[in-house]
Structure formats: structure tokens, C-alpha cells
Amino acid sequence: MLELKNVWIRYGKNVAVRKLTLTVNKGDFVTILGANGAGKSSTLNAISGLVKIKRGEIHFKGQKINGLKPGAIAARGIIQIPEGRKLFPLMSVMENLEMGAYLCKDTKRVRDSLEKVLTLFPVLKEKLGGKARELSGGQQQMLAIARGLMAIPELLMFDEPSLGLSPLLRQQLAEKIKEVSREGVTIVLVEQNARLGLMLATYGYVMENGQLVLQGKTSDLMQDEGVRKAYLGV
């Protein structure tokens, strides 16, 4: 469904990602692991069209999408839940959800997905009128996911959703992400918390300094000596 072919990303002279090739199939749950600055966010931002790629191609459902505007890419069903949540802090919870469905013209569909999203995240129901910035960290992450789901994604990309959450909240978050995956949404999960990524996903890519160094089934990666040392601390 998603294919990156020989992708290079550069900021000025600095190469952030080089020669990246990866594939995500429909219904997959893929994780991308890597240390600080490995190029994970850059990769997601390139797929979303926020960052231009210097070389290579990105295809989605057989069509080239690199070069399209972020909105056009979102319209095709690729939705990113960005690093640091990036909620609209002064807008209400409800308005944040509405913005998630910005591209959807069908009001009935918007109402349906609102209902679905609020069933998945009942905490948000009582907070609809409050401003996003008044929510707790955990609730903000839930809202970020809920806003993403409002867009009715086919491919949902998470950028470090567990950042700053307590272990308990991280557990809740993992449950929610699993539920979304079970609904049939294809998922790419970027995590620094490798344990979480490997536990949830079925296939993993490991990036170092902008390059792909390892890939495989998560069950195999968990047994890999290098991965265990570098990312799991065992």
C-alpha cells in the first residue's frame, strides 16, 4: 500500500535520511525504531508532504504522492499524528475533532465518526467544550489520536505517541492503538520506546543515522542481539 523507494531527505547540507526503501502492506502494523535524530520524524513528514524529498519516490496505492501538498496526501487517506501532539491549544476539544474531519464534506459521515471516536475515547466526551490545552497529558494524546481518526484514515502514522506518558497511561494508549489496528486501519508507529513498538507491531524497521540498518518480523527483532542491546537495554 505504501512504498518508499530510495528516499533521501536533506535539510540544507545535512542529510537526515539516505537511501531509505521500505514497504507497508494493507492492514499491516509496522514500527520504525531508532535513536534520537535517526530520521524517523523526517520520514513520516516526507510521507505526509510536510518535508520535500531530494531523491527517490513515495507511492501510495500504486500512485506517486511525493510532491503533493500535505492536504492532498491527507485526502488520499494518509494521516499523521505528529510528534508532540500538535493540538490546536486554544480551540475546544470539539473544534479539534472537527479540524480532524476538515476534508470530509459529508456531514453524516462526520457525525458517525465523531460518535465512533467518542465511544473509543469516552474521557473526551465530558471535555468537548473545554480548550485542548486544559487537558492532561494523557487526555491530550487521546485527543490527538481521536482527531486523527476523525479524518477516517486508511494509513495512520503515529510519531512517538508514548512520549511523556506514565507507564499506566502508556498501557492505556497501547490498548487504544491496538483497537484502531483491529478495525483494519494500517498503522506505522514510530517509537523511541522500542519495547512498546515491538510489542504492538508485527513488522519492524530499525533506523540509524538516517539509514535502514535492520528489518524483520518483530518477533525476530526481539531476539536479535543488537536490537536487545541497543534498544531494549538487556
Binding site: S48, L50, K69, P70, G71, A74, A75, I79, Q80, P82, K86, L87, F88, P89, L90, M91, E95, E98, M99, G100, Y102, L103, R147, A151
Partner: protein
Amino acid sequence: MPPAGIWIDGLVQSCIYMTMAFGMVLVFSILGILNWTHGQFYMLGAFVVYYAVTAAGVPFPLSLLISGVIVGALGMVVEKLVIERLTGPGYGLLAVTAATMALIFFFEGAAGMAFGLMAKGMATTLPGVLDMGSFSISYQKIAVIIFTLVIMVAMYIVLNRTKVGKAIRATAQQPDAASLYGVNVGWVSLIVMGIGCSLAAMAGGIMGPVQSVDPFMGRIPMIMSLLAIVIGGLGSLTGAIVGGIILGLLNSVIAYKISYFSEVALFLLVIVILLIRPQGLFGAAPK
């Protein structure tokens, strides 16, 4: 206590500064730049109204709308042809600042060539005064105040209740997330520039019959609305409104108390406000 007339004159000025400042802050919140030629859109708006009323006999309220549309469209052209090309990766703030400053002289010169340098007086479009016993207000001034109220309520509704307005607010708060969900930030920039310039034009237009119309009339309101923005806190729409009100009233009252050097006193007062609260009344505290 200054007489009521002084306060009313102050309030009329407040209305203009507020409308101007609101548009500038709206543009700033999306484009991240101060449009230095904002005052010239005020001036052009006044000219459109002047000619619409005197030469074409268009009714005053309709001519205000026409000036909003024409000058708003001109603002969009400036955004597309000048501002958009000079912003973005690789461009500093200097290029676009210099360009919008250059436009001040371009528009003033063009207006001077097209309409002449002489100030044009315009007959009152709403003659008569409202007698309030101890004081009276001209209908023309009441019109300015009502017009401003209507504009502000309309802006509130647009920004909070419409899809475009929500896209504008979302872009101002979190541009990356807004574009991730399909907001076309280039299009939003164009819209806010159109709205901002159209507000400036209508403010100039409604003041046409109160003052006189000339190519340089945009300078003082521009400086005043900049001050209003600084007092209110750069980036805050509420700040622009409150700053505008404070400045208009202060200006009028100070001028009444000390006719000499009233500007000096006003600017000193603004400096004192900023010494006490450098981020302005509604601005976020510097980190």
C-alpha cells in the same frame, strides 16, 4: 474630567485603531509578518468611498462595502505577488519587511498621481446630531461606532462559527497540524490578507466624511494601530481591540489636557506601559 465630546472623539478614534490593529494582528498571526503598508489600504479605501459617493453617486453604506471588496482584492494581489514570494525557507524577515515598506511609497505616489495631492473634503453623508442634553454626537460619528461594532461581531462569528474561520484559527495556532489535516495554508494567508486589507479600507472609508481624504492620510492611523498592537501584545486579537480602545481615548484626552506636545506625552505613556509590561497587556510573557 474632560467633557463627553472629548471621550466620544476618542472613542471614534479607538474604533479606527481597533479595526486597523485587528486586521494587522490577524495577518501577523498567519503570515508572521507585519504588513507595513496597512495604512495605505486605509487611504485607498477612503479614496474608493470618496469617488463612489461624489462621482458615481453610490449610497455611502454600499460604497463602504465596495471599498472593502476592491481593496481587499488588492491586498490579496499584494500577498500573492509580493509577500508570498519573499517568505518561506531561505528568506529572512528583512526582505518582506523592506518590500511592504517600499509599498507605502508606491501606493502613496500612485494615489498622488491618480487623485492629486490636495486633501479632498467630502460632504457629510449623514447630517445631523443626536442631542443628549448636556452634549451631542453627530450621526456620522455614531455611524463609525456602530460600524465598528458590527465589524467586530461579524469577525467574531466568522472566526468562531465558520469553517474558514476555524481553519484560520487552527493555522495560527499550529500551522503544521492544520496542513496535515488538509488546510491549505497558502489559501488561508490569502484570505486573511484580504480580510485585513478590507477592514483597513472600510475604516478609511467610514472616516472619509469625518476627516478629509488625501494620499498621506494612512500614516497616522498606521502608527497608532502599531502602538495599539504593541500595548495589547503582538499576536493577540483581544489585545488589538483593547489596545485600540485605550490608545484612542488616551490620545483624545491627552490632546485635550495639553494641546502642545500631546503626541510626546502619548508616546511617553506608551513607553511607560511597555516598561511595566514589555509583552503588552495580552501578550504571552517572554520565556
